[in-house]
């Protein structure tokens, strides 16, 4: 009988150390590939994503066009590269603009306590219960035909998660003996934040951000599903998923492409996580 005495050590199983290293390595490789594709892809491919040749609609992949042509005879590879760039950067923006305020407000709420915290919590809970689609639609209706209100709406729907997680964790942390000791020793707020709170909060925030990321892109496809957010001819990953849905049977590689990009990005992010963060 083997006794496990060290509660923080990972469980031994065949090739444990090896798998831990290659897991993160695989994650890094995936993310680098995606990043290169997104940043340099459009420039390298050098085909106009809007240029259409109607006679070549739904052309199968070939050497010249590795992903074939879409329903309007536009280069799928070029569109994918531009879409990756647009969607991922906007998703990053959206997630960051949800995470940063959410975290700050969460810490502030836990710090202050009292009725400020109660009000903020009630507000956050109410916003969480609101169907996000509604919020985004309201904003989308104000600026039809543009992407930014959609992402603002998505942020508004997302910040609550960060708030809740951060607030709950901050409560426990702020009551802990380490923080109490630092306070008594006279360290200021910034120090406390940096030294005590962030190291514990960041892993959880990153977990939320990982899936929030995928969620932001999929929210765009959900909006496209209801007919909102379509802005021809700008390629966007989520919108492409819904635009290419009718061709799932004739040209499955077309809809597979944006899904694959999202899958690889998400897998890379997940693999990058350390054991403690995993979710």
């Amino acid at each position: 009988m083997t006794a496990y005495t060290d509660s923080s050590a990972p469980l031994p199983s065949s090739g444990r150390r090896f798998s831990l290293v290659s897991r993160r390595g695989a994650g890094i490789v995936l993310l680098t590939l995606i990043a290169v594709f997104a940043i340099f892809g459009p420039w390298l491919i050098a085909i106009d994503p809007a240029r259409q040749e109607l006679s070549r609609f739904l052309e199968s992949p070939s050497w010249a066009q590795p992903l074939g042509m879409d329903q309007l005879g536009r280069s799928m590879l070029a569109r994918l590269a531009h879409a990756t760039r647009l969607s991922l950067s906007m998703a990053v923006l959206g997630v960051l603009s949800a995470a940063i305020p959410g975290t700050l407000i969460g810490v502030a709420a836990a710090w202050r306590g009292g009725w400020i915290e109660r009000v903020l919590t009630a507000l956050a809970d109410a916003v969480l219960a609101l169907p996000g689609l509604l919020l985004v639609l309201l904003l989308a209706a104000f600026a039809p035909g543009q992407f930014w209100p959609l992402y603002v709406g998505i942020s508004l729907a997302l910040w609550v998660e960060y708030f809740r997680v951060v607030r709950a964790a901050s409560h426990i942390l702020l009551a802990s003996p380490q923080v109490e000791a630092s306070r008594l020793l006279g360290f200021n707020t910034i120090y406390l934040l940096r030294r005590h709170l962030l190291p514990v909060l960041l892993p959880r925030i990153f977990t939320l951000m990982r899936f929030g990321f995928a969620g932001a892109v999929l929210a765009m496809s959900a909006l496209g599903f209801v007919g909102v957010g379509l802005q021809p001819p700008t390629p966007e990953l989520g919108v492409m998923m819904i635009e290419l849905l009718p061709y799932y049977s004739e040209a499955p590689w077309l809809i597979g492409a944006p899904v694959l990009v999202l899958f690889m990005t998400l897998l890379g992010l997940v693999l990058l996580a350390r054991e403690e963060e995993a979710a």
Partner: protein, 535 residues
Amino acid sequence: MTDKYLAAPTRRHLLLTALAGVLPVGFASGDALAHGDHPDNAHAIAPVSTDTLTVVGPWELTGLDPSRAGYIFTRMAVAETLLDIDDAGQLRPALAVRWVVSADKLQWRFTLRSNSRYHDGSPVTPGSVLNALKRAQARPGVLTLADIRNMSTDGNDIVVTLGKRFAPLPYLFTHSTTQVLAPASFDANSNVKTIIGTGPYRITAISLPQQFDVERFDDYAASRPSLKLPTIRRARYLSVSRTETRTLLVQSGQADMAFSLDPPSIRRLQNSPQAQLISAMLPRTTYLKLNAGHRFLNDVRVRQAISLGIERSGIAKALLRDPELGATQLFPPAMRQWHQDSLPPLRTDPLLARQLLHQAGWIAGTDGIRYRLGQRFELKLLTFVDRPELPLIAAAIQEEMRQIGIAVRVVVGNSSDIPAGHRSGSLEMGLTARNFGNLPEPVATLLQDFGADGADWGAMNWSDPQLVAALARLSEEDRHAVQDRALVATTLQRELPVIPIVWYRQTTAVSKRLRGATIDPYERSYRISQLEWAR
């Protein structure tokens, strides 16, 4: 100690498995809950049996009132109108057996069929028919197209008195909004509470907005002894908004008829063992509605250039998968009297388009877009998503316009944005699919669309007095009908207040266990009573 995988399920999981097993059974019995709050609608939608014809379409029952989703009830042969139309566009008797016009052309008489009964057994009286027609007149519909001064009964006749001659009047009474419902269908406020019609099928269960069941009304033959009893005894209409789902329903055998299939679905079903495809070209044209008063668009050369820049055959081939659908003129061949074979077709000629734009003063800038007096040639194109091919066509047009130097921004919104934009004057371009078959005689629609003031779906800030006069003549008894129609078609082709893009073909999937299915070019009926089960 060896790691053993957990062999026996834990208590929690056992409990949950049991729950999950019980839940569907529990909910299934909950199917017996009533749908609809009206006592007449309190029937459960039961699982469909194999002898029920299941029809799926994208149209939803937005309400019971004939002005709203009444067309679905006439299509399923539940409600009828005074007159019917055959495939050639000729009037046929329905609830009215004869129709005559007075010598001064201002008074029409429709003689009702005798011995008709409503589905609740009550007789079809002239008073009840008049009641239904007056309701239709008070609500959005087609009766306002004619100048109807009075409607009354006289014995077994309905008498309609006009203020102005209107030859297509009988056609108005083929429209689904003028369907006749029993007095018991209406409540005290004249709202429809249940559908009691006169057709060969009556409603047995209804669940707004998604589906309703019908069964054969055997007393229908009492007033029409020459008719055979329909073979199909039970039918169901199911509203399914996505075309992929409709296709899958056909493939899995759940649906027997599926309407409004898009080209990828057609492709999928072409080799299906379950269903065959029938299609018919409908009198519906997709066109660009232009604001001819817009400072960029008021020059006919610019409008012609836009038309020359559009690659119609490419759009028809790629997006509609049917090269024949590229519009050569506004009126499709399905509109036999209006389609002009001799009219030179609309062409695609980007070179000529660029020349015309140049002549109109638009010089190409460095970004590929044209400028005139410092103004950039930018236009906003409105369209909507209710018809799935429209955003695609809009995207194709956008790119084609870019190639000739016009920057087009596509805004996909709600279909009502176009009439709203027309009203407010802010509309620049709108892409829509106009149904000229709304009334089998399109004169009424055309009179509205291209009249002196233009209309929500027709011309904007454009009119031609000769064309208006021709349409006015056509709406009365016209000796020179052929020439007038040619005049209308030719003028529209030359001036292009609206630019035709493609025509439309309705494709329907019909299960192979059915026989005798045909498409009604006027989209008034699914012709259920003519279907038979194939043995």
